[in-house]
Every structure is written in structure tokens, then in C-alpha cells.
Symmetry: D2
Subunit: 349 residues, 4 copies
């Protein structure tokens, strides 16, 4: 193991509230407690693959002390993957050497961490990973920063929309992030007291939905909120309108909220509208929870560098931050289990 003098750090993939918390904690612990120097690499792997004038920046305690409440990442991000083109990985390693980075903290999702793992395997790169997935779908860790903020934003949106739904006697269908895992929708559906919550893990029962809203209308509540993941698909016999099928033969509506709103309006006779939260869910100041979790991740990642835990990544297990093998990061998608979805179902109606 080569001695560490300078730690590099990069963020890859989609942004998540809390990235700056990790950057800050890695930097401050590395400098103050371990005496390392720290280089921020701009735009993920791209900054190491094809460095521009501004791709490497020296980070001081003063640079990062007050970035904890900022969303996004001060280092920028990209989806560049050096394993997509033959020879690129080698270039990354060479460039790391060139700029004098002895150890690397890679913060990102499946893709970013997969590159980190392979660099470690193929070149012995001294790398430590930090998982980032706003979707909460990483099986290697109980949860990740960004998720709590996303759920909070979506919950506040539902809180706001409910008053409009009631005033106008409408159903409002809210489309929430989550292509393959319904965690954010599940969280916001439960916390926002949605009347129906739909996630990609469970095929929606449109007949049941229709009967829920009919029954509500009979009881004088001709309105409601549906929280639906963008990744929800419908069985073929559901759709009364033109729709395309996905690779599994499932029907994927143009926009799932828009399609579902049309269908519900048709079948219930209740005016139904839709809202797509989109980018609103991932930006802005992180919740206190995400600030603390990202800080703890960053501190433990710096400690892993100190310990030489190469090829590992930090993870939350219960109340503890531990390190696990980077290969675990990409093993399988963690989806919402039946019992948790059952929790949401108790409040249908």
C-alpha cells in the first residue's frame, strides 16, 4: 500500500442533496485529523479522463466549512464511464498519478461505484466508495442521503395539493421519482396520507382504485390523492387508450400520471388532474437528516482511507456506519418489500 499524501474526491451520476455534506466531511477530517491534502475532481470520471483547466481543485477547510446546507455538488457531476471505451480506464489511472492523487473517494451510484471497483481490481487503485442514490434502492446500505429530502419534498407537495383536490372535488395524481423501486413514492404516499399509493413493485389494480374513489364520493369526499411512481406499468387490459408496451409486454403510459388521470376520470366521473414533480425532488437544501447522514458517511470514508480499506464503500447498518465490499453496491436493486407496501395499503380509502 502506497502512502497517502493527497486524497482525490469526485461525484458521479445524478445529483442528490447531501453530496456537499460528504465532500465537506471527507475534506475536513482528511485535513484536520489526518494531515492529508485534498483535491476535488470536477465532473466525475470525466475530470480524470479528459481533464480541462478547471478539472482539479485544491480543497481547504475554508472552502467547504459552510457548504453543508447547499444542495447539489460543488464538484459538479457527469455520467462519463471510463469503462465504456477501451483504454480510458488506464488514462484515468495515469491522470490520477499525474496530479499526485494517491487515494480516491468516489461518491456515486451503481455506475460510479462500479468503475471504482474495477479500477481497484484492474489497477490496484486505492479507492474508497460512498453510495449515493436518492432512490434508496441500494441493497448494501439501509438508506442513503438524498432520500429523506426527496420524500420530504414530495410529501410537502401532496400536503399542498390536497387542499386543491378538496376545494375542487378532484382527484390529483402525483407522479413521483422511481423507475424500478418505489421507495420515494412509498414514503411520500405514507407521509402525505395519499388515498392510493402505487409503486413499480406491485401491479396496480385499477378496478380497486376506481371503487375506492367511488366509495369516497358516496361518503361525501369526491376527491383524492394518488401517489404514483414514474415507473409503474399497467396490465394490457387496463388501458382504454393508445399506449405502447415495454420490453416485458407491460403497458407504459406516455406519462404515467397523465395516463392514469385520464383513465380515472373516465371511469369514476370525477374530474382528475395530474402533476409531475420531476426535478423538484432532487435539488435544494438537504434535510437535517440528510446533512447528518452525509456527514457521517464522509467522516467514515476519510477514516477508510486512513485505514487503507481499499475497494470498500461506506454503508449504514442500523445506527452504525460500516464499510462493505464495493461489489455489494451493485449486486441487486433493493425494492419495497410486501410488508412495507402493506403499511401503505392500510391507509387506502
Amino acid at each position: 500500500m502506497a502512502e497517502v499524501n493527497r486524497v482525490g474526491m469526485l461525484t458521479g451520476g445524478g445529483d442528490a442533496p447531501g453530496l456537499n455534506g460528504v465532500i465537506r466531511a471527507v475534506t475536513m477530517r482528511s485535513i484536520s485529523d489526518y494531515g492529508y491534502e485534498v483535491s476535488g475532481i470536477r465532473r466525475g470520471w470525466k475530470g480524470l479522463l479528459s481533464p480541462e483547466a478547471d478539472s482539479v481543485v485544491n480543497l481547504t477547510v475554508g472552502d467547504v466549512r459552510y457548504i453543508l446546507d447547499e444542495g447539489g455538488t460543488i464538484l459538479g457531476s457527469s455520467r462519463t464511464n471510463p469503462y465504456k471505451n477501451e483504454g480510458d480506464a488506464k488514462k484515468v489511472v495515469d491522470n490520477m498519478a499525474e496530479i499526485g492523487v494517491d487515494a480516491l473517494v468516489a461518491i456515486g451510484g451503481d455506475d460510479t461505484l462500479g468503475v471504482a471497483r474495477r479500477l481497484h481490481q484492474d489497477f490496484g487503485t486505492q479507492v474508497v466508495g460512498c453510495p449515493k442514490t436518492i432512490d434508496n434502492d441500494l441493497s448494501a446500505t439501509d438508506t442513503t442521503f438524498g432520500y429523506d429530502t426527496a420524500v420530504s419534498i414530495a410529501t410537502e407537495a401532496i400536503d399542498r395539493l390536497r387542499t386543491t383536490a378538496k376545494s375542487h372535488e378532484r382527484i390529483l395524481v402525483v407522479e413521483i421519482m422511481g423507475r424500478h423501486a418505489g421507495w420515494i413514492t412509498w414514503g411520500a404516499g405514507v407521509a402525505g396520507a395519499a388515498n392510493v399509493t402505487l409503486i413499480p413493485e406491485v401491479e396496480p389494480d385499477v378496478d380497486e382504485m376506481v371503487s375506492i374513489f367511488r366509495k369516497r364520493a358516496e361518503n361525501g369526499e369526491k376527491w383524492g390523492i394518488v401517489a404514483v411512481s414514474e415507473g409503474v406499468t399497467f396490465s394490457e387490459d387496463f388501458v382504454t387508450q393508445t399506449a405502447e408496451k415495454d420490453e416485458f409486454g407491460h403497458v407504459r403510459l406516455g406519462g404515467v400520471a397523465e395516463g392514469l388521470a385520464g383513465e380515472l376520470k373516465e371511469r369514476t366521473g370525477i374530474d382528475t388532474r395530474h402533476v409531475v414533480l420531476g426535478h423538484l425532488q432532487r435539488g435544494g437544501t438537504p434535510t437535517a437528516y440528510d446533512r447528518i447522514l452525509s456527514t457521517r458517511y464522509g467522516l467514515r470514508a476519510a477514516e477508510a482511507v486512513k485505514n487503507g480499506e481499499w475497494g470498500k464503500m461506506v454503508a449504514l447498518r442500523g445506527s452504525e456506519i460500516v464499510t462493505v465490499d464495493l461489489s455489494e453496491a451493485t449486486e441487486e436493486t433493493k425494492t419495497v418489500p410486501d410488508d412495507l407496501y402493506g403499511a401503505a395499503r392500510t391507509f387506502f380509502g
Copy 2:
């Protein structure tokens, strides 16, 4: 003038944060200070035109004391207009008599207040109006409740989106309410420090926009925020893609934000995305400002009933709540004047 024993109250048109503040203030002042009884009419004019079992509800102080922080309207709303069908207006008047309502407080926009004005003219109905337009486009009043909340929500959205735009080096185009008047977009563009703000009142200069974002990119800021009203239209030679023309021969993009995002991406080479705030802008708990303004409106409306100021509506003039003729309400749309748009333009770049 017939003596007043029971005041009726209804809310019409789109919901706005603050409606409950008016309802509360009218009810509490009418009962506590004047000794009236108060009836809430459900679903706007519909509740008087075709009453159902739940269309009229007696309101007590206890019913309304704690509704000030609730968005929407506890009375519900509709777009029913009794002047659309011959004979309906008469039915409304008869039904008012039937349920013993001697005076009516009508809370709503152009349409709702137009009906109130005509009922007063045609039948001598003892009516007082209260203006409601989240769009701030009513010339008879300096501002109305709901506007501040809408601007606040859109501003917070821009605050959040900025961190994503920076992290990913993207332009984000945010579509904000306002078909004919750009007030909300103007407010959120200014308060949110948008890099470009576009309103329906001023034809957008796409070339200028492109050059702003190119210059920003040259200075190392390859990202930006565009705040755009849903009602903005483009001149014909702008659009490189299929687009339909509106009644004035202007090009109306499918969704203005979506269309503009495509165009900016094409011309600047910067990744550009869009977000449509939609219903999020009008629901949920009102700001303190809107709670206070709606309360003052409600108190003054009750006072107008006491004074017999029939055919009048309440309005804000400077720091004062005054009454003006209902006919003023519908006179002309108040649009964003040049000097205020100039204020927004100072911050372009």
C-alpha cells in the same frame, strides 16, 4: 334596503390560498361584532342554482376559528355561471330568498364577481364582492391574496432547481402560472434570481437568451434558470420545430417550457431540461402575508354588508382596504408594466 339577518357567502373559480381567511373573517366579524347569522354556500353559484342536501351550511365561530392556515376553501368551488342559461339567475335569487339569505358575500375572480354585479343590477340583490385572483391581474386592487403564496412556492422551486442546474451544468426552464399576465413569473423570477424571466406581456428575444447563456458558459457558468409564464408565445421565425399558431398568429408551443428547453438545447449546446410547476403553485397553507390580507379583506367585506355597500367589492389601495364598484373588477386585466419588467431584466445574465 332590506334588513340583514343572515349573510350568505360563496367562493367561485379556481382555489387560492387565503380563501379560508376571508371566510373566517367574514364569519367572525358578522357574528361577534354585528350579530348576524352566517350561511356558507357550497360550490360557488352552483350551490345556489341547483342546491343539493349539503349546499348550505350554517357557520359558527367555532367552525372557522382555526381554518386560517388551511389552503383551498372549506366551501368548495365551481365554475358554474348562472348567466349562461336564461332563467338561471332568477333561480339563484329565488333560492337565496328560500334559504333566508338577505345579503351575499361573493368571493371570486372576474367571472364570479361579474355574476354578483349583474345580480345586483338586475334583481337588486344585496351583494358585496371580494376579489380573488392568484394571478394578480385585477386592475381594481393593488394585489390579492394567493399571489404572495404562489410567488413564494415558485421561488422556492427555483431555489431548489438552481443547485441541480449548477451540478449538472444544465439550463432548467421552469414553467410558471400566468396565461395573460406574467405577475407570478415576474415575482418568482426576481425573487429566485432567475437568469432570464419571460412573461406574456413581452415577446421573448430568443437570440438574446442564447447569447446570455453562451456568455455565461464562457465565464465558466454553463448552467442557468429560465422562469417562463405558461402564456408566453413566440414569433413565427423562432421555432425550428413543428408548432401550432394561436388566434393571433403567434406560435404557441405544446408546453412552453418543453418547447423552449428543446430550442435552447439546440442553439446553445447546453443540456436543457424543463419543469412545469402546475397545481403546486396554488395549494397549501398561505403565507403570513396572504393570511393577513385575506383577513383584512374579510373584515372589510363584513363591514360593507353592515354599511349596505351593495354592488361594491373590497380592494387594497396602498395600505388601506377600501371598497370600489364591482364593475371595476372586470374592467381590464392588469399586466406587468414595462418598468417592473425592466427590473427583472437588470438581472438577466
Copy 3:
């Protein structure tokens, strides 16, 4: 085990955001999934010990569906403890029988749960507990609802105060809840990027603090934020002013923030002020996190009733809600461990 037809439920001790989430989940799962009837008992044990006209209320799904975003408890609370007077416990048991409550869900802290445990032991009362402690100091569960909300509020307060501290070149000392355990202060200190964080678990080093703020001043930052738990005590030789000693011979300042502010001002020469957050930390709408956790607690508590898990309480372990013996609830106070306080210390400066 006696069959369950009617579940009683009460909340005792200080209020916490999330109590209504538990009440709602217990009620809805009990009625919808298990067919029980549910009685809410008002004012904790007082409602069973000395029932008044309004002490017992039948709860329906409609009563609780939309209380999830309300702080406090719709059932009210008290600090009545039926084990303080001979014979009172028996009265509670008799009154439960009288109102036909076969099983009881007791939601509260040490004191409330201690009563629940003894009733189960002494009378075989069919009781299930749900832990509530905003202070996060219960060793039997990883965390409890209310804590996240309290940390969020205190963090937002620090965010706000920082701008004043900078503008006026002042130190601001913020007094945060926590008599014996510093969890809330630790969380808010970390999330709020405080310059110094002091908790009851660790004796404060005033000399170190003074040197931190002197060094900051030398670097042009003549300001700072200190997050301090109300329960922090100081060693005798610290205090230059009159102060009383506590039972352990430690010096307890009148108000800890006020005393510390005076001392820091004296020693650093920097203008220093204090703020006491007090009741602000425990009220109001719960965060999404606390809404979800309290809901999961309530669902599991209802399930425990169904399973006849008498004398147990629900608890969070990792990502799972489990049940543990009620005796565990009161075993020992969970304090902030050294490594977590070390995390906060990394950011001192």
C-alpha cells in the same frame, strides 16, 4: 388471554410530533384490518384514573385519517402516574373494565411505559407500549418519532442565526433541549454546522472554546455559533460569576446559554448573545421521517395487540420495527457515544 373487542389508547408525558401518526395508524389498522373498535382515552392515565365527561371518545377512521400532519396529540396528555398513590392503579384497571376496553396501547416515555409494565405485571392488563421520547435517549429503540422534527427545527434556527452572527460579528449561543442526553444538540450542531457543540455527556472545555473563537477572529471570522444542551454543566473553576452547584457539585448556570454567553464575551472580547429555543422544538407538523416512523410504530402496535404480545413495546432496530419487553424501555438512558461526539468535534473551528 381475553378476547379483544375494543382497544383503548392513551398518550402520556410531553408531546412529540408524531403522536397523532401513532394514534391514526393504531386506529385504522385496528378497525380496517382487524375489526376492533377503538377508544381514545384523554389526558393519559388521568383519563382512566379520574374520568371526566370527555375522557373517553370513540375513534373512527374518519376521525383520524387526516391528523398525520398535526403536531401534538388529539388525545391530550398529562403527567398523572397511578402508581404514585396507593389504590390508584386498581382504579385504572377497574375503569378500563367499566368502559369495555380489553386491550390498551400506551404511548409515552419512561414514566408512561413504566406504569404500563406494572399494570401488566400486577393485574395482567393486556397492554402494548409505544415509546415516545423526543430526546432520543431510550436504549431500547434506535430512534423515536419527534426526534427528527426537533433536530430539524433546531437546525433551521441555527441556519437563520448564522446570518445575524456574521452580520454583527457576534457569537450566538443557542440553547437546545436535552437535560441528560445531548442527542438533539448533537444532531442540530452537526446539521447546522455549529462552530462548537456542547452536550451533557462531555464536560465542556471553555479554554478550548475561547481559543477556537480567538483563532477564528484572527482569520477574519469574528463570529460563531455554539449549540449547547440545556443540561450542560461546568466545572467549578470555570465560572467567574456567581452560580449554584448541582447535586454532583457541578456548576449549573441559571440558564446555560445565558451564562455561557456572558463568559465567552468576557474572555474573547467578542459580542456574544444567546437564544433559548424552548418549546419551539417540540410542536408543529412532523417531518416526513417522523410521520413514517410513527405510522410504522402504530401499525406494529396494533399488530402486537392482534398477536397478544402483552407487556411488549414496539421498537426500531435497523430498518425493522420489532417488539421488545416493556422492561427494556426504562432500563437505561441512551447517551451520545464518544465516536459520535467526535464526529461533531471534527467540525469545531
Copy 4:
């Protein structure tokens, strides 16, 4: 009138959310639209009276573009008044000349603007004022930035406290800023639906308060919220406890909320607590309203420099930003008029 090449700008007195909005707007309009250079003066008049190394800073568009959402003032502030010591005013004028500042924008309250006015009178200094008073007590302008934010924070505090008051059947007395004028308390009392609102302008009727809370208790609401200005005083016969008298012979309680809480508890028999909001009310990110108002002030102030409107200050009149004589700024304190306090009184109970 001397030609203007470089505009100086300073902020004096207590901080207010929105100061950065003025600084930003003055800077951007001065540079982009008028071609001036801009110098920020640190720590108010102190920065001109006794300049240190960091007292004058050149401001660019890049320095200020994104400070709109920051509370406080990037220029810092002080309470230094150069008219307190003979000869100091002259020094200020000389130092302005020394650093090449031809025109000065002074942002502050009575004190700061009073200095600006005298410098203009005594030395012909080319000065423009911008009023800042979170207390809203300046008669020359309809409102000022910072007030809306302060009211919003205090309103949110009341919203939170209400749930605790209800859960524990307590009266909570909330002490809000306002020594001589009750505007913030009035606003928060109205917006927060307080049960009683007390302001310095009107002597409190404790008997009435007691009877309000007794009546509430009889109706099953043994709780309530009192919003009280820090500057409220009580008549002598009120106080059952030791208390000191102020210059007018009025009784000023140690802390008004604490004293009043003790009194209410004594007389109503209801558990009563108090909270002092203190510094929380003036810090942190400004509301959208205050961002817009401060921006408009700043733009108009720059315009006033351009126009050579020396000795004037900007002010809001209705929807317009105008300029008025600086002497108007200090003329008289604007207090809450009877009719507005009457509005608050309607909701007592």
C-alpha cells in the same frame, strides 16, 4: 453636482433579511446599466470613520448575483454614529474622498439615515438613503423589507406552539419583537390566529384576558396562545409580583412574556408557559416578498444616484417605489393604528 464614477454603499444598525437584496440591486444596476464602479463599505459608518484593511471592498456583478437568498448583510454592520464625537463626521467625509467614493447609498434605520441626512446638509455629501426597519415603524414608507420575514417566522412559531398548547392544555405566551411599535406582533397575532394579541400601543386589559381564557376553558378549550410585544407595559395595579417601573411610571416586567405567563397562571389556574423568539426573528433567508421589495428599493436607489437625488431616500407608496426627503425618515414612529388593532381584536377568544 460632482460627477459620479464610484458609488459607495454601507449598511448600519440591526440586520434585516433583505439587506443583501438591496446591495445586489444597487450593485448590478450601477454597473450594468449605468457603468459606475461600486465599493462596499464594511461595518456601517465605522468602515468610513476608522477604516481597517478590510473596510472597503470593490463589488462586481459576480460578487452579488447569488446573495439574494442570504439573510444578514455581506457588508457587516455596526452602530457607530459619527455625529456622536466632534470631528468624526468630517473624518467620514474625508475618508470617502480618499477612497474615491463620489456618491453614497446608506442603508439603515433612523440612526443611519439621520447621519446620512446631516452629512448631506453639513458637507453636501452626495447621499441616497434606503430605509431598513424590521419593525415596520417608519412613517415615511408603507413597509420595509425584513418585516414580512419577521412576521412569517413568528407566525410559523405560533403555528408550532399551538399544537403543544392544545395537547397539554396550556396557555403559551409568545414574546415577539417590538419595543415601541407592535407591528410584528400584530401581524403574527393575526396570521397565527392567536387568542389574544398585545402591542405596546394599547394598554393590556388583564381582566379581559383572564375572562377570555376562563370562557374558553368552559367551552372545553383549556388552552390558548397570547402574542405579546416585548415592549408592552402594564398598569401598576395589575402586578401581583415585584416589578420595576419605567420612565413613564408603567410597570415593565423582567421579561414581559415571563411575567405575563406567571400572572395568567395565577389568575386562570391554567398551566401557562412562555417563549421568547428573540434573535430568531431577524435572521435567515428572506421571504419572496422581502426579496422583491429589497430588490426594488435597491434599483430605485441606484436610479436616485443616477438622477442626483441627493438627500433623498427610497420609499414604498402603494405599489410604487418613490423617493422622499431623508428628513421624513426620522420624523415620527409609525405605530399600529386603532382600526388595525381592532382587526386583531375581532379574533380574541
